[in-house]
Amino acid sequence: MIAIPLAYSLRNLWARRLTTVLTAAGIAMVIFVFAAVLMLAYGLEKTLVATGADDNAIVIRRGSQSEMMSLIDRAAANIIRSQPEIATDPRGKPLAASEAVVLIGRPKRGTGQEAHVQTRGIAPESFAMRPQVKLVAGRLFRPGLSEVIVGAAAERRFEGMGLGRTIRFAMRDWTVVGLFEAEGSGFESEIWLDSEQLLQAFRRPVFSSVTVRLSDPSGFDALKQRLEGDPRFNLEVKREKAFYADQSAMMTGFIRVLGLFVTVIFSIGAMIGAMITMYAAVANRTTEIGTLRALGFPRGSILLAFLVESLFLSLIGGGAGLVLASLLQNMTVSTTNFATFSELAFRFALSPAIALESIAFALVVGFLGGFLPAVRAARQNILQSLRAA
């Protein structure tokens, strides 16, 4: 059992406060960026994945990356609705929603610059298929009228979408009669209206997608095979969750690669910072090290003591960085999702995995930064170090 002069190491951190604070601050900033990037990617994934339900499947045109690009005509939509795997509501009607999705350009709050809002023409069944969507103000639009409901995130992000306001597109004035929330999923960044009104206004005869509820999740494969194999149409069937997760792939990939590059460079900088501090610590405590050796502590203890000091330093920095990063969870980010070309609002999301990864990363930085100086401390010659006094 190696005795490690732990108290000695930790009290040294306190004794040289300025240096400790500066080095820990450097490490804190690195961990902050590291955690923030991971939280951003995770938050984006969460938002998009929450947009799907486990027992829903979505039918789109083959090769479409987003609903906006997909086209399904009425004949195909009706055939999709008649598939046996689809669940029925108490009245015997299939739980299948034929929806049409377009993008309209609206000015953003603050900058006034235009961005795209995903606008979804929904079917009567759409609400039943998406239980996470709830009206929080106003009422639902009445079919046949120029009325829309707006998602809470879209209302926050864009100008002129509050309750009672009118939005003009496709040569019609549409009144906002309600606001809805959708548990932070992608739907909250959308405008919803009656699909028949949307199709008429834009003079298009086709839907974008048909979302269906499976009566039994295992029926997915049979449904997929039958619809994709049908030579009359060019369809693709995906689980709703997988479809929306794929939409996040490009953005999260971009965020992660950029974040990785930046963090790697940062962490080398932090390691160097830690190394400088520890080398200086070792150099200034030559006599003390000699004394400890003379007292009987073996080389291993000295090595471990300095390593512990470095690890503790990085732990403080990492903890501070993580705490700062967790404050980001109150911030909502809204940006254009490259995959759908429309605005999407999402938050930073912290998970236990991210917190652990951040602390582990901090410890790695501390270890790598402190190792060489600790080795130097351990290899010191007792007589020479005592003589240096």
Partner: protein, 390 residues
């Protein structure tokens, strides 16, 4: 001067510490320069835009098309010299990863007239016009896939159904450094023909019009004239200068750009912490020496210069090293992006402005890090300094 001699000597007293500090600063400047370059890439479209080009698109959003019939009406607007048009193809070549390059169907007769920065020989232009499914690609794109003139390229589209075969009949080069050389142009007539066969209700439409005007000063009035012409029709237009159009795209990602800028400032904070730490440690160790210097007659001014000089020199060396490395690292970043995400960022290299700003940042940090130690040394009472041991 004696001070410079002293500064240099001091620098090499703790070789390891100096080297590590320089390295730390170099890496941080590298990261700062890299982020600035990525931000600049986003804005590169603005540099490439021409002041005498207007873009007219559907007023609702870019995803809605405009009728081809509008062309004749736009040509008739006074001040307009040439009208061309384009439609986004959204093609898939091999698979999605390989497909991250822009493919657009254009009006072959007028395209190279409105976009003269895409340089192409007359014979290639004629070949492009002659063949229905001819394609002209940028030299960087051709290099990436090893395409030569005469190669057949097969694609599918995310937006249109069917299989599409193109024959490469021309390779264009960019006139300026900022010109994008990764475009895949083909004939709009071919696109319309195929659509008419498979999805007839979608035929006869273009994505946007590119309007070349004679006098850039009249861009606002001509834009308004075009939009007025189509007001209250099924497809209202929004016409703006090309720069404004590109700016609109950039502003869609403004959250990301803001985040990148914040990170670049955090980096400066990191260097500041590292360098301040070094200077503070150094100053503390040398307090007795400063006291001796003061006894010899050196004033506070000299001590401040000594400390600031050392700090600036370290920052300068580190900054210079970092700036030298930015180029290769940015290229590496571009390669990784292309491989993993297949991103469409045109790598245009590191601008001299970025290098200059990075160097200035390094010097600024060098000065800032020296403030506290210099203050301490300047206000030191000789007796206090000599009292310290070790």
């Amino acid at each position: 001067m004696q001070l410079i001699h002293l500064i240099l000597k001091n620098l090499f007293r703790h070789k390891l510490r100096t080297i590590l500090t320089v390295l730390g600063i170099a890496i941080a400047i590298l990261a700062f320069g890299m982020i600035r370059t990525v931000i600049a890439m986003w804005y590169s479209g603005i540099e490439a835009s021409s002041p005498n080009r207007l873009i007219a698109r559907n007023a609702i959003s870019l995803i809605f098309p405009l009728p081809i019939a509008y062309r004749n009406a736009i040509v008739a607007v006074p001040g307009v010299s040439v009208v061309s048009y384009a439609q986004w193809f959204g093609g898939i070549y091999i698979d999605e990863k390989h497909s991250q390059f822009p493919q657009i169907a254009v009006d072959a007769a007028t395209w190279f007239d409105v976009a003269p920065e895409n340089r192409i020989s007359e014979s290639e232009k004629a070949a492009f016009l002659r063949e229905r499914n001819a394609a002209v690609v940028g030299v960087q794109l051709a290099r990436r896939f090893g395409w030569k003139i005469g190669d057949v390229v097969r694609m599918r589209s995310m937006i249109f159904s069917g299989d599409w075969d193109f024959v490469i009949r021309g390779i264009y080069t960019g006139a300026q450094k900022s010109t994008d050389e990764t475009f895949f142009f083909f004939q709009w007539r071919y696109l319309d023909e195929q659509i008419r066969r498979l999805e007839p209700w979608r035929a006869g439409n273009v994505g946007w019009y590119v309007v070349k005007i004679a006098d850039p000063n009249r861009s606002a009035s001509i834009s308004e004239a075009i939009d007025r012409r189509f007001k209250n029709s099924l497809a209202e237009t929004r016409t703006e200068t090309e720069q404004s159009f590109v700016q609109g795209f950039i502003s869609m990602s403004d959250a990301i750009l803001v985040a990148l800028r914040i990170i670049s400032f955090v980096i400066i904070g990191v260097i500041l912490a590292v360098l301040s730490n070094t200077m503070a440690m150094t100053a503390r160790e040398r307090l007795s020496e400063y006291a001796v210097l003061k006894t010899l007659g050196f004033g506070a001014r000299h001590l401040v210069l000594l400390i600031a000089g050392e700090s600036l020199l370290i920052a300068l060396i580190g900054g210079a090293a970092g700036i030298l490395l930015i180029g290769p690292i940015v290229d590496g970043f571009g390669v990784v992006m292309t491989l993993t995400v297949g991103a469409m960022f045109p790598i245009v290299g590191v601008s001299p402005v970025t290098r200059a700003v990075s160097l200035l940042m390094a010097l600024g940090v060098g000065l800032a890090a020296a403030i506290f130690p210099a203050w301490r040394a300047a206000t030191l009472r000789i007796v206090e300094g000599l009292r310290r041991v070790g």
